[in-house]
């Protein structure tokens, strides 16, 4: 593995050191190596083959907004690309230093600054880790209500930059629903404060910067909505005959106006994997006899048989008689939780669901972050995996599910669950598995699966990301996604990043960049 030396001038480093001090930056090769990728699976495929991603030239750890502002101004003078970095949990390659430059790790700005119990608001610096933030809030009797499966490894800045969603988003909303105010250091080198304009007058700067993935500026601080910890939690698992009735149930539940914390519907293969949890007695009982041969299939060499011939195996798996599992979690005052459960159970019974009791829900909750641990054993044994999360309105849900499944399943093993639900629609979370070959072959297969999946999604009218963001991975689809609306983003980009240094090569393929290359 060869590390190209950083392309930096002594003069630049002197300026850098004047801003952040001698311990505030690193040009060490090992640090550059460790900042060359986030958690996107294309990079994981590459590291499996000891292939590098582009290295940043330097990593910087600013301690406060002023230092960061000085860094941006230095970068403007030296035309140095700047890439924000939080926890490195991103799965779209949004923090890869595509053209080298300066990675700005925000983790030294890690404070929960204020908890305003009168207005139920919390102010925190962007570098705080999601889990730390939630723990500190819970220590004080509050919750952000944001529980993404990346909570252990994502930062608040990352949540905001990529429009993260937690597993309880049905109740608490996504991060863009929680954000009230932001402090941003833009690519102009200015500090911009935003304000809360929800249900009121004003230009919504929060919604410009949230989701901008570092291409307009650095989010340094945020004011967020918080809630008192719920006094009561309840869980339920139900089994539906198929996805069609399951989707219908989730739609009806959401359109009653109720706000259960978690509503997740697993398709047949995903249901099967769910049963893999050791403690999952309740559901394994229900599908006794099925679980064991299929578990074997997944755990043994026959998995590789399945992965080498997905065209043959996928149709079989997709028609397993496991049924589709619905997981429900309720939170709140006990009286309301009971009523909510009663209403929802009626809806599900009307659609022929089988009540599996509270066990599957509890097991789900206990293992809510486990899914992220599953990738390592798979890669280790020679398979690659990734997930695609898309969203649409209810009228298109079933079509979206079928179209994407069909488009992808001849190339890989694919499963899905309806992961987040709203009155007007929801999101599907597809997981795909394929076997690793040589580097070139694996990368090509990976790209092909993504292309098939995303194209099917766009053709059906879905949005190509619900909560992972775009990054490097999906940027070539964004022009089609936004249509003429991209003109708005380009205007923001012109204004906030006139020097083109903010996280270049992410979010959208800028026409300006293309033109320059042609010229």
């Amino acid at each position: 593995m060869q590390f190209e030396p950083p392309k930096l001038k002594k003069h630049f480093l002197d300026h850098l050191e004047a801003i952040v001090g001698p311990d505030g930056y690193s040009v060490k090769n090992l640090d550059r190596f460790n900042y060359s990728r986030d958690s996107n699976f294309k990079s994981t495929i590459r590291i499996h083959h000891s292939a590098l991603e582009p290295l940043p030239d330097v990593i910087v750890w600013p301690k406060d907004t002023r230092q960061l502002q000085a860094l941006v101004r230095l970068a403007i003078r030296t035309k140095m690309p700047m890439i924000p970095f939080g926890g490195g949990s991103g799965v779209c390659g949004g923090t890869i230093a595509e053209t080298g430059g300066m990675i700005v790790d925000m983790k030294k700005m890690y404070r929960l600054l204020k908890v305003d119990s009168a207005n139920l608001l919390a102010t925190a610096e962007a570098g705080i880790m999601g889990y730390t933030l939630e723990k500190e809030l819970q220590r004080k009797g509050y919750t952000l209500g944001h529980f993404p499966s990346s909570i252990l490894c994502a930062s608040l800045g990352g949540y905001l930059a990529a429009r993260s969603a937690g597993q309880n988003s049905t109740r608490y909303g996504k991060i863009e629903d929680m954000v009230r105010e932001l402090e941003v250091v833009t690519g102009q080198g200015e500090i911009v404060q935003t304000r809360d304009v929800e249900n009121g007058d004003g230009l919504d700067l929060n919604q410009i910067f949230t989701g901008s993935e570092g291409t307009l500026g650095f989010i340094t601080r945020a004011v967020l909505k918080i809630y008192p910890l719920a006094p009561c939690q309840a869980f339920r698992g139900l089994r539906f005959k198929n996805m069609k009735t399951g989707i219908e149930a989730v739609r009806r539940i959401m359109q009653t106006g109720l706000k259960p914390s978690v509503v997740r519907l697993y398709d047949e293969i995903d249901t099967l994997l769910f049963m893999g949890y050791k403690k999952n007695k309740g559901i394994t009982e229900v599908v006794k006899g099925l679980a064991s041969p299929l578990k074997k299939l997944f755990m043994s060499t026959s998995l590789w048989g399945a992965l080498s011939a997905p065209k043959l195996v996928s149709p079989v798996l997709q028609h397993l008689p496991t049924g589709c599992l619905l997981i429900l979690m309720h939170e709140g005052v006990e009286r309301l939780v009971r009523e909510e459960q009663k209403i929802i159970m009626e809806i599900c019974r009307d659609l022929g669901a089988e009540d599996l009791g509270e066990e599957p829900g509890r097991v789900w909750h206990e293992h809510r972050y486990s899914v992220s641990y599953k990738a390592s054993p798979l890669f280790h044994s020679g398979a690659f995996i990734d997930t695609i999360e898309v969203a649409t309105t209810w009228d298109k849900m079933e079509a979206l599910y079928s179209a994407m499944l069909k488009a992808m399943s001849s190339h890989c093993l694919v499963m899905a669950h309806l992961s987040h639900a709203y009155p007007e629609g929801g999101s599907f979370y597809f997981t795909f598995l394929a076997s690793l070959g040589g580097l070139k072959k694996s990368e090509a297969l990976y790209d092909l699966i993504w292309d098939k999946g995303i194209t099917a999604c766009q053709e059906t009218g879905g949005v190509i990301s619900h909560h992972h963001g775009v990054g490097r991975l999906k940027k070539k689809y964004v022009d089609r996604e936004w249509g003429g609306g991209a003109a708005l983003y380009r205007r923001f980009k012109d204004y906030y990043d006139p020097h083109g240094i903010m996280n270049p090569g992410k979010l959208i393929e800028l026409k300006r960049e293309k033109k320059e290359k042609v010229a």
Partner: protein, 373 residues
Amino acid sequence: MLETFSKLMEYCTYCPRLCQSACPVAMTEGNESFSPWGLMQTLNQLRKGEIPLDSELAALSYKCLTCKACTTQCEHGNEIPPVLHEVRKEAVARELAPPEISGFLNKFHKHNNPFSKDLLQKLKNILPSKYFDMNPQTIYYPSCTTIAKCPEVVHDTFELFEKLKIDFVGVYPEAIQCCGYPLISGGMEYDFIDLAEVNFHALKKYKTIVSGSPACVYTLRETYKKYDFGLPGKVVTINEFLEPYLHNINYRLKKSMRTKLMYHDPCYLSRYLNEVSLPRELIAHVSGYQPMEFFDHGECTHCSGQGGCYSITSKEASDEIARRRLEEVVEKKVQTLVTQCPSCVHKFRKNSERLVVKDLISYLNDSIEGVKE
């Protein structure tokens, strides 16, 4: 050298760094390279022969407290410290370890302890001579950090023994020296083996060895075994030793001891020795109250910042780790912090002016007046 760890290292390499928010080093220094993920994915490249072991990589291997918070977080149960120990050993052998490590070793060799002081002399000033002359079967093994940094714990231990009429415990008198924990943890294996051999011969005659330092207990009980110096007698924590006496003896309690306190689980006690409920039971036993808890407690505790030679190579960050841990104590408006590890006691005292930091033994001794006649 690392092939035995290949599965673990591969798992870490492919993991979206799920343990990082549990890692005090990663969270305090903010550098991905120092997270268990960064350490393992980098060393995995060393294993695969993609990068060489140089001083930069050697220094990286010291960016760990060996507190195993990551292991608790990891659903695969991956243990990072053994991997790092291998690299540190190699680094020391090839003279690639950070200068602080060789400096430490020089200092250590003066009196066979990390403090360059004659600790036996100091111990003799703390304890009456009778404890040195009794030829006992059970001895108390005071850790060097206890003698050097919190000597009152030694005093309180024997005072408590007196109050509870425990009269058969002597003190380890042989040219008092370290158990070797910092040596083995820092990768100084040869020096550790020499020391362990001497200690083994001095300690093998005792039936029971009691220590108030979890790292000493772990080293004497577990690490010595790995180097064929397994002690024939029992090595027990002070709590394990005291528990039956505290439950069976009828003693008087001081009423004034019912102050609000928090208990900090030392990582070696809770994660290496699995002693989580016993200290709490003892506190409840003498005070009638459960101690207040940190949000991260028990096996999910946070290291005080002193472990694994990290405080030698990364002084400032190590203090910062302690200060961050203490924030929660201040937030809860608690004045007394009880823990049971001389390194934790020392670290917390060093990083807090106002807080009363006590070893659990001192707390017990303060609470108990004496046996009812």
